[in-house]
């Protein structure tokens, strides 16, 4: 039985549909990442699960019990979960008292509380801050306290809303390490939201892509990353080349797609005459100075229109009759003397093209 299951969950705020027919299943002990851009409805969904808000319609089952239907959710149910908000929230009291709050509210005895709080403080390496006023800490430290405060009550379900948003990279890395530690130590079921898809990949077992209030696709990271179901998901998971075309021929699952006069070969079940998007990851594209023969079924001559550098990589934008983006290392860009206006040959394998039918974009 899943620990959390939602059925056709809808949330409307005035005229706006915040969430539409969200169906989600998260198993016991699983780490699930809700990924999606800002404003997709991630926070709203987490708030519904935590019973902070009531849905407009639909059901939420926690451990098999319907929880959203009852007008007054019981405190016992909520005490089996904990929710870490996006903005680090600490109460205006000492670090120790902050972390002890939930336990005090559960009326645990003082000795137990002391033991648990001290243990958690050690785990987050903030033992020295015990008596500090929590408000005087940095944003990253406050978020540490917020997570520590949530996990000290050993919730069955831990909800986290963008736990590292607004934090500097060093603090974010510490928070991620803490989350990983929590997963290993307590085997807690976690639902976390993030707009950083790689964070989802690093921390979660499964991801769900939430776009415009709908779960567009959910599954294992690889599956979503490599086979995005539709254009929206493809864009969000970083497929930069999404090229519209028409299936011209199909034989043994090899299709040819015509794109503005050019032809792309791909592996797909799509039928002839279907309008499709060919999705190609920039890192799957190889650049060469001259036309070479290789096993890659697709090779196009193109002119470099723009080069953007980030870190050790160069993002090369090409015009091959249709726009194409390739990712190469700084060193190969230098060795090939890539420059704006130069002509290069871009090639990619037919298996590197993920084909999405533009008619069948409906999510599950």
């Amino acid at each position: 039985m899943p620990l959390i299951e939602t059925a056709d969950l809808c949330q409307r705020y005035g005229e706006n549909d915040i969430l539409q027919n969200v169906n989600l299943k998260v198993e016991q002990g699983e780490v699930f990442a809700l990924i999606g851009p800002t404003g997709a409805g991630k926070t709203s969904l987490l708030r519904l699960i935590n019973l902070l808000d009531l849905p407009t319609s639909g059901e939420i089952y926690f451990d098999g019990t319907s929880i959203a239907g009852s007008a007054r959710p019981t405190i016992e149910l909520r005490r089996r979960m904990a929710f870490v908000l996006q903005k680090p929230v600490v109460f205006n009291m000492s670090v120790y008292d902050n972390i002890a709050c939930g336990l005090k509210w559960r009326k645990e005895n003082k000795g137990d509380i002391r033991g648990k709080v001290d243990g958690i403080l050690e785990m987050v390496a903030l033992s020295g801050y015990k008596d500090r006023q929590a408000r005087t800490l940095s944003g990253g430290e406050m978020q540490m306290i917020a997570i520590a405060r949530a996990i000290v009550s050993e919730p069955e379900l831990l909800l986290m809303d963008e736990p590292t948003a607004n934090l500097d990279p060093a603090s974010a890395a510490k928070i991620e390490a803490l989350i990983t530690d929590t997963i290993h130590r307590y085997n807690t079921t976690i639902i976390m939201s993030t707009h950083d898809m790689f964070q989802g990949q690093r921390l979660a077992d499964r991801v769900g892509v939430l776009l415009n209030g709908q779960i567009q696709q959910s599954g294992y990271w690889r599956q979503v990353f490599e086979s995005p179901r539709n254009e929206g998901v493809a864009t969000f998971v970083g497929v930069e080349n999404i090229i519209d075309g028409l299936v011209a021929s199909s034989q043994d699952k090899i299709v040819t797609i015509t794109v503005d006069g050019s032809v792309i070969e791909a592996v797909s079940d799509s039928a002839v005459g279907v309008e499709v998007c060919a999705c190609i990851r920039p890192e799957d594209i190889t650049l060469a100075k001259s036309k070479t023969s290789s096993s890659a079924r697709n090779s196009f001559a193109g002119r470099i229109t723009r080069i953007v550098s980030f870190g050790a990589l160069r993002r090369i934008e090409l015009d091959c009759g249709f726009p194409l983006v390739a990712l190469v290392t700084k060193r190969s860009a230098e060795e090939m003397e890539l420059d704006k206006g130069k002509q290069v040959y871009a090639s990619f394998k037919a298996t590197g093209v993920h084909v999405i039918s533009r008619q069948g974009n409906d999510p599950d």
Partner: protein, 228 residues
């Protein structure tokens, strides 16, 4: 100016010599106003939480009305309480008129709007995420309310100080329902009023200074409480 200097010197003399009547009047002033402030706080803090945490029709009207009553004249409250407790009034049978008890009741009525209104705005100053976090960590409604009151403690204390200030400085209720009876209901403000009309400005000024001093002591105590 001379009268003020004389008053100041006399005030010091009265304080240093521990003048029994001055001590008695000041003690009564403090007792009555501290009692009324405490009792009004006991009513207003939970009431303000109820109003703040619940949505009901007429909430805005109630808050606006409360704010309007911030400026109700003390004599109007005195008159109202007088009518209520006079022999022919609905509560006349209690025989409380011209007693310290009825003065406490009058002051409570007077400062309830200030305490209620300012506590409501103090609670409104607490960020929504604080409340959400408390609830998500398993706090009951009551536990959340206590936390929010604690988070807003500076502003709540300010509300209480405001209430106390209005209580100890009022003279309308003290005169109308207290009656300014020497040794029984005479408080600093009613004494000042009397001494001024008798022409003893120095004593009146001295009492005024003592009143300020008493208020200072109470504020220091409350602030110390707040810092803890």
């Amino acid at each position: 100016m001379d009268a003020i200097w004389q008053g100041l010197i006399k005030a010091l003399q009265l304080i240093i010599s521990l003048d029994p009547e001055v001590l008695e009047i000041s003690g009564r002033s403090l007792r009555i106003s501290v009692t009324s402030t405490l009792l009004a706080s006991l009513i207003c803090l939970p009431l303000a939480s109820l109003v703040h945490f619940n949505n009901f029709p007429g909430k805005r009207v109630l808050v606006n009305l409360t704010q309007t009553f911030y400026s109700i004249p003390t004599v109007a409250v005195g008159l109202f309480v007088f009518v209520l407790f006079s022999r022919a009034g609905p509560l006349g049978g209690l025989n409380l008129l011209f007693t310290p008890t009825v003065m406490v009741i009058g002051q409570m009525l007077l400062i309830t709007p200030v305490l209620l209104g300012l506590t409501i705005s103090a609670l409104s100053g607490v960020d929504r995420p604080i409340i959400d976090t408390a609830r998500s960590l398993g706090a009951t409604g009551f536990q959340t309310t206590l936390l929010v009151l604690k988070e807003a403690r500076f502003a709540v204390t300010a509300a209480v100080i405001m209430g106390f200030g209005r209580a100890i400085s009022e003279v309308g209720i003290a005169l109308i329902v207290g009656g300014n009876i020497r040794g029984f209901t005479r408080v600093i403000t009613s004494a000042i009023s009397l001494e001024t009309s008798k022409g003893d400005l120095e004593l009146a000024i001295a009492l005024g200074i003592i009143l300020m001093f008493a208020a200072l002591v109470v504020n220091i105590l409350l602030n110390m409480q707040q810092q803890r």
